[in-house]
């Protein structure tokens, strides 16, 4: 919903921060700017002034000080000059007295004395003058202080004054203090020329004091003199001098002394530091100091002036400068303030202007006439203000428009909310809502009148109208709109949207025109009332002039239409709810009544006693009786069912009374007459049987009312009074009513009980059936497992038969064993006894008897049955009633279901029948399980057989597939373990050389375990493995932890690896133990015979594998050796033949040369010998060549030189070569060659070699007859045969003759020659061509050597040309 907006606030809002900033500028910021400028200007001027003043003062101070120092120095120098002058004068005067000595003797002395006196007069400082002659004798001494002495002759020759003066002519002694108070020095001067004396003058230095005292240095300044050693010689304060003050400790004195020493060029003088201008005097006061040396004496004149005094004039200068500075600062402040003001004012004006604009005064114009940037800024502000003002105007217009819209919306909303409030106010009444809607829409839409129509059947009826006269309203109400009229309202409803008619005067329907005319209706708006896409009425607005409704108004009316629908809906719902509520209330009332009735019935029905109690109590009270009781007939007895007011004694007494019908008692009469009988006073009734009864029990009047049902007395209602007072008729009637009620109650109870019993029976049957079903379902659920079935049967039978315990026992050869228990725990001892051993089938137990009788046995109390003795001796045997039902199948007892109670409580026949049912079910279950088990066993056996076969197959395959023993053994072991359900296993191979079983294969063994086992050597006969080998039988240990397990290291290792059961089986091959197969389990238990049988098969396979591996190893080793030997042989032969050729070359060469006569003619005999030499040599060469050929072939070095050749040509070559030999031996040599033999591919030379060999042999070994060569084509091969008529070859030699170095008859060789290699070579050549060679022969019938080679031969094996075998 739109919120009215304050245009001004909206405008100023974004300007907020700016305006605040401007405001700040006008106030606080203004002061800041001013202060900033003022401070800046002041700081600028002040800093320059101060700098100026400081610099000035500094230089003034320095110059002043320098000037003062200079003055002081001059003064010191003046003083020094005066003192030096003084000394020089004295010296001059003394020197003069020295010169004048020209006379000797007394007159000379007098003269000198005179001189000396004059000297003393002229020089007041001289106190004493002494003359020493050249020899050092005192000649004269004149003194102011003593008598003159002449010619004393005192010896001065060693006196330093004399000696020094003699040496340097003039000597001045250091200052000394006479009488330790006055400073003196001694001046010694020697005369000119040779042999002159020395004059010594003592000079009082007090005189110098006058000099220094006269020097004025300010007020407190002093001048003083110090000697070489720094002692004070003269000082204005003479006391200091007299006290022999040592000034050398003062820094400036020390510096001046050092400088003096340096000037004097004294050796070892320290580097000269400048004499400081200021220093501390004896009092520690800072002084300005200056010094001047008196070079001739080595003294120093020092001038000290306290700095405070010396600098007085400088301070004056300072003060003046400070005054000037202060004045300047004052001016700077004033100037700064003035300038700052000049700059801040226009800025402030700007700030104020901006603030006003920011505050909304957009007409304000800033007037700044500074003619600079500030003025431009002011103008910019003014321009901005103007633009802002324009924006404001636009915004204000928009705001006004919005406000108007809002106003309208507000009105509409208010109207809507009013209608809504009417709806909510009257949820159950429709009319006020419709009236409100009619009124509001008419008002808001500026219509002249409005109406609301509701659909009723085929008509629209007026529901509400507004703006019409009562007459007009009545008219509309009386003329409902018919559906067939094409009215605007129906049109709106049909089309389900608003209809807007500009002028109803143009309507076609005259009825409607009439209506419009009467109601002066021109423009009309009609909006349908839609409830879930169904029109239920219409709202119409009408104007008396032609003026269309605005869309806004139409929307509004539509909203009202919706609200009207809501209201109609609400009312409908409300009515519905009301109806429902009413219905509910009625139902509730009825139900409450029913419930009360039912409650009453049920209350009386289920429990008789309270009813009877209530009856007697009510009767006694209502009939003012003292005692009341009801007796109920059960059989022929009347038992007291309820009493009131009777003590137990009275009740007991009462029971002794006769219950015979008869006149002897009220009871008897009532029963007899079947009506109420009263004895007004038993005490006086003559017919009464027991007149004492009233007295004993305490009553006099008695009323007895019979309880009658169908004319039978089923009980009596008796009331008694202690006092004789007759019961009134009303009372009797009341009691009769009570009696009737009692009858009803008793009847009800009886019926109820009968029903209860039936129900109980039904429930029991149901329970039994359910239980049976449950057991059956358990059976079907676990067909293979019996335990759940037994458990279910035990539990169910125990529960349903109300037995305390149920036990199911199964019978086997040994007897009964408990398989299931249910109910209360069997006492511990009894249970222990029962479980200890199977229970034999005998009549001493219930189950035994049941088994023997093959029917159920029910004993109410076994303690009463002498036959049942089993377990009766157990202390806690608590069995009493027992039921045993046998499980019988085909006449065999499988077991017994026992039910028992610990007290005598027999089982019902129903229960027994039930247990029998269970027994049958148990039998079925057992049978099922047995069958299933059998089936499974069969299947397992089958599967196992298949597995075994497969395993054995695999093992066999492994044994055949590989000679790798480790792999085979592993395969065997893995299969063996799997088939024997062993977790792991090992195969050991026995090494009989070192007597040890070595681990060869392990299955599921950790490396660690293997290492441990390997570390433990196993010998034949050692426990388990060794033992099985030694005994040649299976050793099995079902549980290693048990006592029978050997406590050996191996067993320890196994136990540590978690092994519990182990089986060891020897591997035996041809009667020898060659190893052991060991399998093991991590749980105890013996291996089954099937497993052992299976393992035996595996052991056999293992033995074969081990043996195979051994054989293979041997063969491998032998082959390797043979290979090596063969290689060595070939190599050796190759080398040998090569080496043999070299000497043979010489033999053959020389022989031939000799034969050719190179070495001259030979004698005839020698020529013959040479021929034989040559022949033998050639034979040898032939042998060597053959050996070489063979070795080359064997070494794989012979390569066939394959090329096209003609077999015919080869044969012809051989024939030509051997013809001579054959004719020589008178043998016929024939060649029979098939025509059209094709060209072949092969090594012609080698093939010729083969032929040559065969033909040569044939000629050689044939004495008489012929040698025939035959060649033909046989398929893809040439078949060549060389046959002879020789001695033949025995059949057993047919193969061997093709071996190396073999001839048929070794003795023959010697005669026939030959190497015995020819055939071997021939065989190899033929085979290299891919052919074969063989002989067909019989002794005495000649031989036929044949070979066939492919026409197109290919090299059968790749031969590589290695380097020559050297």
């Amino acid at each position: 919903m739109l919120r009215p907006v304050d245009p001004f606030r909206a405008l100023t809002a974004p300007l907020g921060p700016m305006s605040r900033a401007l405001t700040g500028l006008g106030g606080r910021a203004q002061g800041r700017l001013f202060r900033k400028y003022a401070a800046l200007l002041f700081a600028l001027v002040a800093s320059s002034l101060i700098a100026n003043a400081v610099i000035q003062m500094y230089y003034a101070w320095r110059e002043s000080r320098a000037a003062l120092s200079a003055v002081q120095r001059e003064k010191a120098q003046g003083a020094a000059a005066i003192i030096e002058q003084f000394m020089r004068e004295i010296e001059g005067q003394v020197g003069w007295t020295t010169h004048a000595n020209v006379l000797a003797g007394a007159s000379g002395i007098d003269q000198r004395r005179f001189d000396f006196l004059r000297l003393l007069r002229q020089a007041p400082a001289v106190t004493e003058v002494t003359y020493i002659d050249a020899q050092g004798r005192e000649q004269l001494k004149v003194s102011r202080l003593a008598m003159d002495v002449a010619g004393s002759g005192a010896d001065y020759s060693a006196d330093p004054r004399f000696v020094a003066a003699k040496a340097t002519r003039r000597h001045i002694s250091p200052v000394y203090f006479r009488k330790e108070s006055e400073p003196y020095l001694t001046l010694s001067i020697a005369g000119h020329g040779r042999n002159v004396g020395v004059t010594i003058a003592e000079v009082n230095l007090k005189f110098i004091w006058d000099v220094v005292s006269r020097i004025e240095i300010g007020r407190a300044g002093v001048a003083y003199v110090v000697d070489q050693s720094g002692l004070l010689i003269a000082h204005p304060d003479i006391g200091l001098v007299l006290r022999k003050t040592d000034m050398s400790g003062l820094a400036h004195v020390a510096a001046a002394r050092a400088r003096l020493a340096a000037a004097a060029g004294l050796p070892g003088a320290a580097p000269v530091a400048p004499v400081p201008e200021t220093a501390r005097d004896r009092h520690g006061q800072e002084v300005l100091t200056a010094s001047a040396p008196i070079a001739s004496l080595g003294w120093l004149v020092m001038v000290d002036q306290p700095l405070s005094e010396a600098l007085v004039p400088v301070r004056g200068t300072f003060n003046r400068s400070l005054l000037v500075l202060l004045g300047g600062l004052g001016l700077a402040v004033i100037g700064g303030l003035w300038l700052a003001r000049r700059m801040a004012v226009p800025i402030n004006a700007l700030a104020a202007g901006a603030e006003r604009m920011g505050a909304g005064d957009l007409d304000y114009r800033i007037e700044v006439r500074t003619g600079d940037e500030i003025e431009r800024l002011g103008q910019a502000f003014n321009a901005m203000g103007a633009r802002l003002k324009e924006s404001y105007a636009g915004l204000e217009r928009k705001v006004e428009a919005r406000t108007a819209e809002l106003q309208e919306s507000l009105e509409y909303q208010t109207a809507t909310s009013q209608v809504l409030s009417v709806i909510s106010r009257s949820p159950s009444e429709l009319q006020p809502v419709l009236d409100a809607i009619a009124a509001t829409s008419q008002t808001l839409c500026d219509a002249d009148w409005s109406s609301i129509w509701q659909l009723a059947g085929d008509e629209l009826r007026l529901a509400a109208a507004h703006g019409l006269s009562a007459e007009g309203t009545a008219f509309l109400r009386d003329t409902p709109l018919e559906a067939d009229r094409n009215s605007t309202a129906f049109r709106a409803m049909t089309e389900k949207r608003s209809q807007h008619v500009m002028d109803r005067q143009n309507d076609a329907d005259h009825v409607l025109i009439e209506q419009a005319r009467r109601l002066q209706s021109r423009t009309m708006l009609c909006v349908p009332l839609m409830r879930r896409s169904e029109a239920i009425g219409a709202v119409t607005l009408s104007r008396r002039d032609v003026r269309p409704f605005t869309p806004h108004q139409i929307t509004l009316v539509e909203t009202f239409a919706d609200q009207a629908v809501i209201a109609i809906n609400n009312v409908g719902l409300f009515e519905e709810v009301q109806t429902r509520t009413k219905e509910l209330a009625e139902a509730l009332n009825q139900q409450t009544a029913t419930a009360e009735v039912l409650k009453a019935i049920s209350r009386a029905k289920f429990d008789l006693q309270p009813v009877l109690d209530t009856l007697v109590r009510s009767a006694r009270k209502l009939c003012s009786a003292d005692l009341a009781l009801i007796r109920q007939r059960i059989g022929d007895e009347y038992v007291i069912a309820a009493t009131e007011g009777l003590s137990p004694q009275q009740v007991a007494h009462y029971q002794t009374y006769s219950t015979k019908p008869g006149p002897g008692s009220a009871f008897g009469r009532a029963v007899l007459n079947k009506r109420a009988e009263q004895i007004p006073d038993v005490a006086v009734d003559p017919q009464i049987d027991r007149p004492d009864a009233g007295a004993i029990i305490g009553f006099r009047t008695v009323l007895v009312v019979p309880l009658l049902r169908d004319g039978d007395v089923i009980g009596v209602f008796s009331l008694m009074r202690a006092e004789p007072r007759t019961f009134s008729k009303t009372e009797i009637a009341l009691v009769e009513t009570f009696a009737d009620q009692a009858v009803i109650a008793i009847d009800n109870t009886r019926l109820f009980e009968a029903e209860q019993t039936r129900t109980k029976e039904l429930r029991e049957s149901l329970e039994y059936q359910t239980a049976t079903a449950e057991v059956l379902s358990v059976i079907s659920k676990s067909p293979s497992e019996l335990q759940p079935v037994f458990n279910a049967i035990a539990q169910t039978s125990q529960r349903l038969c109300g037995a305390e315990r149920a036990v199911i026992n199964l019978l086997d050869e040994d007897g009964f064993r408990v398989v299931a228990r249910a109910g209360r725990q069997t006492p511990a001892k009894l249970k222990a006894r029962v479980d200890a051993s199977p229970i034999p089938v005998s009549r001493s137990s219930v189950m035994g008897r049941a088994a023997l009788e093959k029917r159920f046995v029910h004993i109410e109390d076994i303690r009463m049955d002498p036959e049942i003795t089993l377990h009766r001796d157990v202390a806690d045997d608590d069995r009493r009633t027992m039921l045993g039902v046998p499980l019988v199948r085909h006449g065999h007892v499988l077991g017994v279901i026992n039910l028992m109670q610990t007290e005598v409580r027999p089982f019902t026949s129903r229960q027994i029948a039930l247990v029998e049912t269970f027994a049958d079910q148990a039998v079925i279950a057992i049978e099922n399980a047995r069958l299933l088990d059998e089936l499974q066993t069969r299947q397992q056996e089958l599967a196992r057989s298949v597995d075994e076969l497969r395993s054995l197959g695999e093992v066999g395959k492994a044994v055949n597939a590989t000679l790798d023993m480790g792999q085979v053994l592993h395969t065997v072991l893995e299969n063996a373990c799997k088939m024997a359900y062993a977790g792991g296993g090992t195969i050991y191979v026995y090494d009989n050389v070192v007597d040890a079983f070595n681990l060869e294969a392990g299955y599921n063994m950790s490396e660690e375990h293997i290492q441990r086992v390997r570390a433990q050597p196993i010998r034949m006969g050692d426990p388990i493995v060794g033992e099985c080998g030694a005994r040649r039988e299976v050793i099995q240990i079902a549980d290693l932890t048990q006592g029978d397990g050997p406590k050996t290291p191996l067993a320890e290792i196994l136990l540590r690896a978690g092994v519990r059961a182990i089986l060891a089986m020897p591997l035996i091959h041809q009667g020898d133990v060659i190893g052991a197969l060991v399998v093991r389990r991590t749980y105890p238990g013996a291996f089954s015979p099937e497993a052992v049988r299976l393992l035996e098969a595996f052991a056999g396979q293992s033995a074969i594998a081990v043996n195979n591996a051994r054989l293979f190893k041997e063969i491998e080793e032998k082959s390797r050796q043979i290979e090596l030997a063969s290689q060595h042989k070939s190599q050796f032969l190759a080398n040998m033949s090569h080496e043999l050729r070299t000497p043979l070359n010489a033999i053959l060469g020389y022989t031939e040369l000799m034969q050719d006569g190179i070495y001259g003619e030979l004698p005839g005999k020698a020529a013959g010998v040479l021929d034989r030499v040559q022949a033998n040599s050639r034979h040898l060469l032939g042998l060597i060549n053959s050996v070489l050929d063979l070795s080359k072939i064997e070494a794989g070095q012979l390569a066939l030189n394959l090329a096209e050749y003609s077999m015919v040509g080869a044969i012809e070559t051989v024939v030509v070569a051997t013809e001579a030999l054959a004719s020589e031996r008178k043998l016929a040599l024939k060649a029979e060659i098939a025509k059209d033999l094709p060209k072949g591919i092969g090594d012609e030379q080698r093939i010729a070699q083969v032929l040559l060999n065969l033909v040569g042999n044939a000629i050689k070994f044939t004495e008489v007859g012929e040698v025939r060569i035959h060649a033909e084509l046989a398929g893809e091969c040439f078949l060549v045969s060389v046959s002879d008529t020789g001695p033949g070859i025995p059949a057993d030699q047919h193969t061997r003759i093709f071996e190396e170095f073999h001839q048929v008859d070794s003795s023959n060789t010697k005669v026939k020659g030959g190497t015995g290699l020819g055939l071997a070579i021939a065989k190899r050549i033929v085979e290299m061509h891919g052919g074969r060679i063989w002989v067909e022969s019989e002794l005495g019938k000649g031989s036929d050597f044949r070979f066939e080679i492919p026409v197109a031969a290919t090299t059968t094996k790749p031969t590589e040309l290695r380097g020559a075998a050297e």
Partner: protein, 120 residues
């Protein structure tokens, strides 16, 4: 008179060749190993060379290669006379540059025939 260089380390074989070839009217130059043979070939420039293969210092193959590599000597025919009588050995000798090949033990008559074939 044609001159033949015999390069052969075995005295017996040299003697046979010496006797054979001298008798046939050839002048013989002898060398006892490949290095010596090459030097003699260079200095004497024979008309034919008989070359043993297995020799110390430089074998016959290498000596042949060197001689055939020398422009002055390349025209001299070289006959390999060797006890390397295996198949392929002849090919090897020819590959090294020998013009003919005679296996030991040789027939002096056959050898003389071959020599004459080259020289006459």
């Amino acid at each position: 008179m044609k001159r033949i260089l015999v390069i052969e380390d075995q005295e017996d074989n040299r003697a046979i060749l010496r006797d054979l070839l001298s008798a046939a009217g050839y002048e013989l130059i002898e060398a006892v190993n490949g290095a010596d043979g090459f030097a003699k070939a260079k200095s004497e420039t024979p008309d034919l060379i008989l070359m043993d293969i297995q020799m110390p210092v430089i074998d016959g193959y290498e000596a042949t290669r060197r001689i055939k590599a020398d422009a002055d000597l390349t025209a001299i025919p070289i006959i390999a006379v060797t006890s390397y009588a295996l198949s392929g050995d002849e090919a090897k000798a020819r590959a090294a540059g020998c013009d003919a090949y005679i296996a030991k033990p040789f027939s002096p008559r056959h050898l003389l025939g071959v020599v004459k074939g080259f020289l006459d």
